[in-house]
């Protein structure tokens, strides 16, 4: 999957994973085969990843998510945008999120 993340599109968690919140950590557990590169692992985020993930719910385009994060974080727009796209690219390649259009 080499498609690039597009800021004008909307993304949501995939049905191929189960997202759990345990003791304040978000834990993503593969449900179907082929998520990630090894099957016997689950996934979690750093603090920043968690903040972004909580907004990826299929309700608004990514550019709106970036704007919300810019309002919340004191970070240069270019850097923040790059980080969000980097994270979503990784999630998309792992089939943890899907493109809702």
């Amino acid at each position: 999957m080499t498609e690039k993340i597009d800021l004008s599109r909307t993304y949501a968690p995939s049905d191929d994973v189960v997202v759990r919140e345990i003791e304040g950590e978000i834990v993503i557990v593969p449900l179907t085969s082929g998520i990630g590169d090894v099957e016997d692992e689950c996934f979690t985020f750093d603090e920043w990843g968690r903040a972004v993930w909580s907004k990826i719910d299929g309700s608004r385009p990514l550019e709106t998510v970036v704007q919300e994060l810019l309002d919340e974080y004191d970070a240069p727009a270019g850097l923040l945008k790059g980080e969000v796209v980097g994270l979503l690219q990784e999630l998309y390649e792992r089939r943890m999120i899907v493109d809702k259009g």
Partner: protein
């Protein structure tokens, strides 16, 4: 913000997963049934597959699903589905899928004889995320069925393994060192290594437990005890590929030296795990069925069991003078299998030392150079120092 990898891959058993408190429950063992379609010589659990009374008392899929949901709510990450033979239950798929949809990883323990093409496909499409553990008691029809005592079980097991392999489902085989199979260990390892889908190295059961129900079926105990290997056999089996195992015993002992005092529960990973029998009774582990250590989930809740009942149980103290005199001071606690479940199966108590496991631990310690032949571990005055002894 970090420019490093955003998504961290972790093994669910990794302690590094939790930055703050650990969940109240991380692992749950569920014995879906005590019934089995095999009747293995050494089995500490099985009832006949058609046992109507046992079957009628087993929890329904609905009850298991409710319990699994409760367990996931407490933070549980891994559930082991075992038996008896868990695939004897017609509702196995329903229970399995529910666990996986909750985001639980599933350790399935099976003899593989009841694996169908449909189940293998399900395990392919919705993988358990842990290698399926398959008991393979014999490399030929003759040896296998001398252990399982069921005609046709060899072919059925091979068919099941084939289905797992064809579907790319990861599995590990486990053997047992029994009179019919004792010469097959190396061949079984070599065979397993060549199986498509096989992960890791086979483990072998040798130190057989007596029947944990201590009921009618305990008549079988004499036969089970007769199958056990002695300390010397155990050590030479462990050494068959070199001294790696003996080095591990030594290191392990050095890390865990120090007597048990009057503590009964020394089992390490038990901090946040629990087991439930087929009838909804929560136990510290699957072998410990002493009535005083069992919590009836039908009359309470999982949360209460893991946050109140088990922590209280863990504080239970030993009273048996032999335990206090021996195990209480013994520096081999890291090697020895002595625990309340073993005392229960052998003696019907929680704290009577089990001579068989004591003998095995002593044989290991002698092989590791930690004890002289005939020396008793509990008479060693400074166990921590002794545990560092090198040959």
């Amino acid at each position: 913000m970090s420019a490093q990898a955003y998504v961290r891959k972790v093994r669910s058993g990794e302690s590094g997963l939790w930055k703050s408190a650990k969940p109240a429950l991380t692992r749950l063992d569920i014995e879906l049934t005590e019934r089995c379609n095999n009747d293995c010589l050494h089995c500490a659990v099985n009832l006949p597959a058609g046992d109507i009374e046992a079957r009628g008392s087993e929890w329904t899929a609905e009850r298991w699903k409710t319990l699994l949901t409760e367990a996931a709510g407490l933070g549980c990450l891994v559930v082991r589905l075992t038996g008896g033979e868990p695939l004897l239950r017609a509702d196995f798929e329903e229970i399995y899928l529910h666990a996986r949809r909750l985001g639980l990883r599933v350790m399935l323990f099976t003899n593989a004889t009841l694996i169908t093409p449909r189940l293998a496909r399900l395990l392919k499409d919705v993988p358990p995320l842990e290698a399926v553990e398959v008991s393979v008691y014999g490399l030929t029809k003759e040896t296998c069925e001398a252990v399982t005592r069921v005609s046709g079980s060899f072919a059925a097991c091979r068919r099941g393994l084939g289905l797992l392999g064809e579907n790319g489902v990861a599995f590990t085989v486990k053997g047992a060192v029994l009179p019919p199979t004792s010469r097959e260990a190396d061949a079984l390892e070599a065979w397993a290594a060549g199986l498509p889908g096989h992960a890791g190295r086979p483990a072998f059961a040798m130190l057989f437990d007596l029947r944990s129900r201590r009921d009618e079926a305990a008549k079988k105990n004499k036969a089970i005890a007769g199958l056990r290997q002695g300390g010397d056999e155990f050590v030479s089996f462990a050494r068959r590929h070199g001294d790696g195992a003996v080095d591990e015993w030594r290191d392990f002992c050095a890390r865990s030296a120090g007597g048990r005092g009057d503590r009964l529960f020394n089992c390490l990973p038990m901090g946040s795990s629990a087991a439930v029998d087929p009838y909804g009774r929560l136990q510290y582990c699957l072998g410990l069925r002493h009535p005083g250590t069992v919590y009836d989930l039908a009359a309470g809740s999982m949360r209460e069991a893991v946050t109140k009942f088990l922590p209280r149980l863990r504080e239970t103290r030993a009273a048996d003078p032999a335990y206090l005199e021996r195990c209480g001071r013994c520096f081999l606690k890291g090697l020895c299998e002595q625990c309340p479940a073993k005392s229960w199966a052998e003696h019907g108590t929680l704290d009577t030392p089990v001579e068989y496991f004591c003998g095995i631990a002593h044989a290991q310690a002698v092989a590791a150079g930690l004890l002289d032949w005939g020396e008793k571990a509990w008479t060693v005055r400074d166990g921590s120092e002794r545990a560092k002894r090198r040959k």
